[in-house]
């Protein structure tokens, strides 16, 4: 057995990682098990698994009976996927321009775009709301997509331009000599090579958008444009909270984002382009 794979080391490493996984998953686990329990059971023994007596689907029934719930899901999905698409597309294009072309103000532009990582977009909420009112975009999903695209771009550009700098110049030049347009070079040669980075950016961009409550509440609180996080709020009252329904709604809200994550994580692991350039 080599030094790098000694048994105690590997046990220690696994021990630490498993402990961390358990800690991280515990809140999720508690939410999911309680969503399958009756109201009394949730309060009597919050950490107990649902048993024959305490098992109750009342939460899910409430959520699904609340007619618009699929609409909320759909809205969240549309906003997340559309924002993700624009963040990845424009982020990658801007990153390519910044890393590939020499032009006046290149590094200044890069710095300007990176500033967005440090300054939270919520500081501009009032101005954004005024803008949306002026353009008549209040209570539309377009407003949310625009804001989230702006929110996601800085980090996307920052991460992707670092990765694109590492794409072989020779490969791009070979494309130029063979007569490929800059767009084909970008889409066919460069993007596939930075796919793992794109997946990383996708995951980091997607989760805050899916979870956001702030902008849906301010920009699109109308019934037809509510997102799932906003929709779940109807169960949280000032005096009474329908915990069954809240927990059920949260459990359901995990599913789509998990599916998206699984899709991207396959890309994270895949190294299909390895060996393209020595």
């Amino acid at each position: 057995m080599s030094a790098r794979h000694s048994l105690p080391r590997s046990i220690a490493a696994h021990g630490i990682l498993i402990t961390y996984t358990l800690i991280a998953l515990f809140p999720v686990f508690v939410i999911v098990i309680n969503s399958f329990k009756s109201r009394q059971a949730i309060f009597r023994e919050p950490l107990a698994l649902p048993t024959r007596e305490t098992f109750d689907l009342i939460g899910f029934q409430t959520v699904l009976a609340q007619g618009d719930f699929f609409q909320y899901f759909q809205n969240s999905m549309i906003v997340t996927v559309a924002s993700l698409f624009f963040v990845l597309l424009f982020g990658a294009m801007a990153a390519f321009a910044l890393s590939e072309y020499r032009f006046r103000g290149n590094s200044l532009m890069g710095l300007y775009l990176a500033l967005g990582i440090m300054i939270p977009i919520r500081l501009g909420t009032v101005a954004i709301l005024q803008l949306m009112v002026a353009t008549g975009l209040v209570n539309t999903l377009t407003a949310l997509v625009l804001v989230y695209t702006a929110q996601g771009l800085p980090l996307a550009i920052f991460i992707l331009s670092e990765f694109m700098r590492n794409v072989s110049d020779d490969l791009k030049n070979a494309g130029r000599i063979d007569g490929l347009s800059e767009y084909r070079i970008f889409f066919r040669l460069v993007l596939p090579l930075v796919r793992p980075a794109m997946a990383t950016v996708a995951v980091f961009t997607m989760i805050p958008i899916w979870n956001d409550l702030w902008f849906p509440l301010i920009l699109a609180p109308s019934e037809p444009t509510k997102t799932i996080t906003l929709g779940s709020q109807v169960f949280i009252g000032q005096f009474v909270t329908n915990w069954n329904a809240v927990l059920a709604a949260l459990s359901l809200a995990i599913v789509p984002v998990m599916v998206l994550y699984l899709i991207f994580s396959r890309q994270l692991i895949r190294g299909i382009t390895a060996g393209a350039v020595k």
Binding site: S168, D170, L171, G175, G179, L189, T273, A276, V277
Partner: protein
């Protein structure tokens, strides 16, 4: 008519001049090698010919057509890169055929061209594989095949052998020489390895710090270097440079190749002590530490036994010596020792 003409070509990045006025003429069918230490601007010059870098001033002409503002794809050139730069998502066949496809060639013509190139390079068994399934040598052959398929006016090679191991490098070098003979094409080849330059070139261009030091056929550069830089760069092991003072010469420096130094254990012109011996079978290299000239290399043919630290005497073959002035410029017999003579 020339295949490539550079007239007073310069390149500046910001305020730094990387290429300072290069003039060059390459005849059709010629194999021209740019050689020089790293950072001398040889790759930049090649990229300027390819159109991948803008020319700051001066003219680049391919086949007597000024191409300064012509896109790389329209210059009728093909380039082979050090890192192969194969398209990872395409098979060997598609890699080779992409340029023709972009140019709108018919499918049948593309297949004919790729078949011919693959037969020429022995790539037939690999034709449907992807680059990730090939070894380094195979990838480089595909990259060369991709260049051949285009039937370019000019082949550009950017250190194509640097990533290959020693045995493969020799084999590929011979293959490139064979291709040059078979295709009769004009080739520009960049390398930092003077052995590649000597073995492949019809014409060598020695570059230093963005300036052409000397242009000529390999043997001319070897036998008649213009200055100490060319003399030291061409030939392996490197030429020895001796101070003229202790030898009683009028020039500033004397250069002598390792094979033209005679070694003796009894008597000679320069006294020294053996510091190291390298036995290569066919030849023996003896490194001698001398008081006046530092470490000198002696090249002997066949096997010889010398003990480290043994005292020896060296005698340069006066007829084979090169003389240089204080600026490193060559002083030829019959010329006055006037300093600052322009490079040819």
């Amino acid at each position: 008519m020339s295949a490539l003409t550079l007239s007073n070509v310069t390149k500046t990045f910001g305020t730094t001049e990387v290429i300072t006025g290069v003039d060059l003429d390459v005849e059709p069918g010629e194999f021209c090698v740019f050689v020089g230490p790293s950072g001398c601007g040889k790759s930049t010059l090649l990229r300027m010919i390819a159109g991948l870098e803008d020319v700051t001033s001066g003219d680049v002409k391919i086949d007597d057509r000024r191409v300064n503002d012509v896109a790389p794809a329209k210059r009728e050139i093909a380039m082979v890169f050090q890192s192969y730069a194969l398209y990872p998502h395409l098979t060997v066949r598609d890699n080779m055929g992409l340029a023709l496809k972009q140019a709108g060639t018919s499918r049948a013509d593309i297949t004919a061209a790729t078949d011919k190139a693959s037969a020429m390079l022995g790539l037939d068994p690999l034709i449907d594989r992807r680059p990730s399934e090939l070894s380094g040598g195979q990838r480089q052959r595909v990259a060369i095949g991709r260049a051949i398929v285009r039937r370019p006016k000019l082949f550009l090679f950017d250190e194509p052998l640097s990533n290959l191991d020693a045995a493969l490098r020799v084999a590929t070098r011979i293959e490139i020489a064979r291709l040059h003979r078979e295709l009769g094409a004009t080739m520009i080849y960049v390398t930092h390895d003077q052995v590649e330059a000597m073995t492949l070139a019809d014409k060598i261009v020695v570059l230093r710090a963005g300036r052409v030091e000397q242009v000529g056929p390999p043997m001319e550069l070897y036998n008649d270097p213009a200055n100490t830089f060319v003399a030291g760069f061409i030939g392996s092991p490197q030429m020895n440079f001796l101070k003229s003072g202790p030898l009683g010469l009028s020039s500033a420096q004397m250069g002598i190749r390792p094979e033209h130094l005679e070694i003796s254990t009894e008597a000679g012109q320069i006294a020294g002590k053996i510091s190291h011996v390298e036995k290569l079978g066919g030849e023996t290299l003896v490194y001698v530490l001398t008081e006046d000239h530092g470490l000198l290399t002696v090249r002997l043919f066949g096997e010889h036994d010398y003990q480290v630290d043994a005292p020896v005497w060296l005698t340069p073959d006066a007829a084979r010596a090169f003389h240089f002035d204080e600026h490193g410029q060559r002083l030829r017999p019959g010329e006055s020792s006037a300093a600052g003579r322009a490079t040819p």
